[in-house]
Symmetry: C2
Subunit: 349 residues, 2 copies
DNA sequence: TTTAGCACTCTGGTCGTGCGAGTGCTAACG
DNA sequence: CGTTAGCACTCGCACGACCAGAGTGCTAAA
């Protein structure tokens, strides 16, 4: 990172031209095309020579002998890191994003959902949003509300401003007082702890203490424990997977299946995105860099979003490696910032 | 319904054979094949004659002259209504369904989600579950819980045993007492009303009354109103859409896209399933019967699920018209019953 | 160092061709 | 009179040939 390999200006321009063209047309691009469409002031023959060099150093590749060139992963990498200019999000799109998010200003889950939707819609790829909470939060308090004689609603309140509720069947009726006791005890032990500190062992401790105190709340406390140590189920919101079917690289149904099957697994997505929370700014992951075979044909553009400088979640766009990086990078950045702003406004820190 | 068109036994057996074979192989089936694979005791020539008749009366069709026959929608209809025998769910599968649902016995949303998952998995098609609540419920009470100075959690408790929570930014701080007042007032007006009775006008009334009472709770009450009259957002759980890509009829990506795009819209699914709640038992909807162009190539097997005889929601499987009806019908029926049972056990009526 | 020219390669589309599966019809059969 | 065997006919599809177009690498000239 930050180290820029040596490459003379003309090679850069050619790599840029090949990449741009391929991104737009999805066809291998030849020297003639470049000479015609981009005026580099040199002849196709010269371009051919340069392209041969670029291929040798691994930035371009040929799908088959005597066909045009396409960028390799390394080529995309270079393009993204050193050549590409972000294509600013149009005022139209900005307005639209702001409006959409502002409309649903009331409920966090809806905002997140809407974010995934608009991101998918504007990128024309698949979009994912990892909802906030996670490690950054602090446990504030728990409330337990009787719903009926056998069900209680456990409400976990996380600072800043998030709430997780769990409807739990208790098995046996519990009185309001009993519930209050349990809640009180839990709050005593957990209040103001960072979520990252609340691990399985602490919960086990608390559980055993509560067992002594009142043996038949077992089920309840266990469920609470579960919900806290939970791998944050349901926290990845996604949209636009079908958009990928528009891409020529996924006309082959077996390729499409590999990707869509992968993207349909919540766990896989969670894993993909959870690492993003720790990054800063927009990250582009190209093809095999993701380290997952099903994603070999895909790239991901991702960014964390922050509330007052604290990263709270992440979002991203997944498309073919031949992705409109310049557009998507800017889009992801803008949406991440915007989501952060909206959340900051809603949440009281 | 109930009226069985005249059709002699041999024609029935042939229609059955054609349908079964086509369902299994996805290839148009010819007279020779039938004579070989199913021993009807007659020669291919006879079968040809019968098939010509069946085609004339609209039960079979030929993709192109001098190719085998495939069932028409009318053919499937007859097959489903009068010929097919449900293929009982294997003991293995039963056990698996019961176990899966029982595991997640604590939280209704998880149960619903898991139901969609197992249904998709066992049917190998796409599965949908419309979560309970809906018209059948009775509003029991609302609780409003302060989360922090600007956010409240509105908890709607519906009988039987369902809970909807909404995290709402109030704009201005509200005291605990104010919240209690509002809740009390709402409960006075809404408690024990069937949800079907709580319409936009009633809510508007209440809102205006509350406006008088305390003008700045506007946002809150409006949000509550919204959440009640809401088109039940997020209530359709789906899974297994990618399974459809396995089907030969969707190898053509453009066909696959039409269907998957349709199935990706929550609203469309909601519409599709919400009608099912009013039906009894398993319903099979074949191709264009669904009345939606995107579903022309698909069939749906659906059923409501009930808690103590009251229909609470619905579930269904969507696959190609060439669907394993005998298997799926039995599966859907079993899962619907099971889900009903599980919910009955959890919910206190 | 760049460019023009040229021979070569490879892909993708089009066109026949042949094969196999299946039909409809006719005539024979029980 | 229903059933069956036989036969000519029809398609769709897979296969191979063929051609055009795009693009390359190389060589030699500018």
């Amino acid at each position: 990172m930050g180290f820029q390999p040596v490459m003379d200006a003309r090679k850069r321009r050619i790599l840029e031209a090949v990449t741009d063209d391929y991104i737009n047309t999805a066809e291998p691009v030849g020297s003639r095309t470049i000479a015609r469409r981009y005026n580099l002031g040199v002849s196709p023959a010269t371009i051919r020579n340069e392209m041969a060099d670029l291929e040798e150093s691994g930035y371009l590749e040929q799908p088959h002998t005597s066909s045009g060139r396409i960028p390799s992963e390394k080529g995309y990498r270079f393009y993204v890191d050193f050549i590409m200019k972000r294509k600013p999000v149009s005022e139209d799109e900005r307005a639209r994003i702001r409006r959409t998010l502002a409309e649903k200003r009331r409920e966090i889950d809806l905002i997140i959902e809407e974010t995934a939707r608009i991101l998918a819609h504007l990128s024309r790829y698949a979009a994912f949003v990892l909802s906030p909470i996670s490690r950054a939060g602090v446990f504030r308090r728990v409330e337990i509300l009787p719903v009926d004689s056998r069900n209680v609603l456990v409400i976990l309140i996380i600072d800043p401003g998030f709430v997780r509720t769990h409807l739990i069947a208790t098995g046996r009726p519990l009185t309001r007082q009993q519930l209050a006791h349990i809640a009180q005890f839990l709050n005593l032990r957990l209040a103001n702890l960072p979520l990252s500190r609340i691990g399985t062992q602490l919960l086990r401790e608390i559980k055993s203490e509560l067992d002594d105190y009142n043996s038949f709340v077992d089920a309840t406390i266990e469920a609470i424990a579960q919900s806290l140590e939970d791998r944050h189920e349901e926290q990845v919101y996604s949209d636009g997977q079908v958009n990928l079917l528009e891409q020529p690289e996924f006309q082959d149904i077996s390729k499409a299946r590999t990707v869509l099957e992968f993207l349909a697994e919540d766990d896989a997505l969670y894993e993909l995105l959870s690492g993003v929370v720790e990054t800063r700014g927009v990250t582009v992951t190209i093809g095999r860099e993701a380290g997952h075979p099903s994603m070999n044909l895909c790239s991901m553009v991702s960014a964390p979003y922050e509330v007052r400088g604290v990263p709270m979640g992440a979002l991203g766009v997944v498309g073919p490696t031949r992705m409109h990086y310049s557009r998507v990078v800017a889009l992801v950045e803008f949406v991440a910032e915007n989501l952060g702003d909206i959340l900051t406004r809603i949440l009281v820190m």
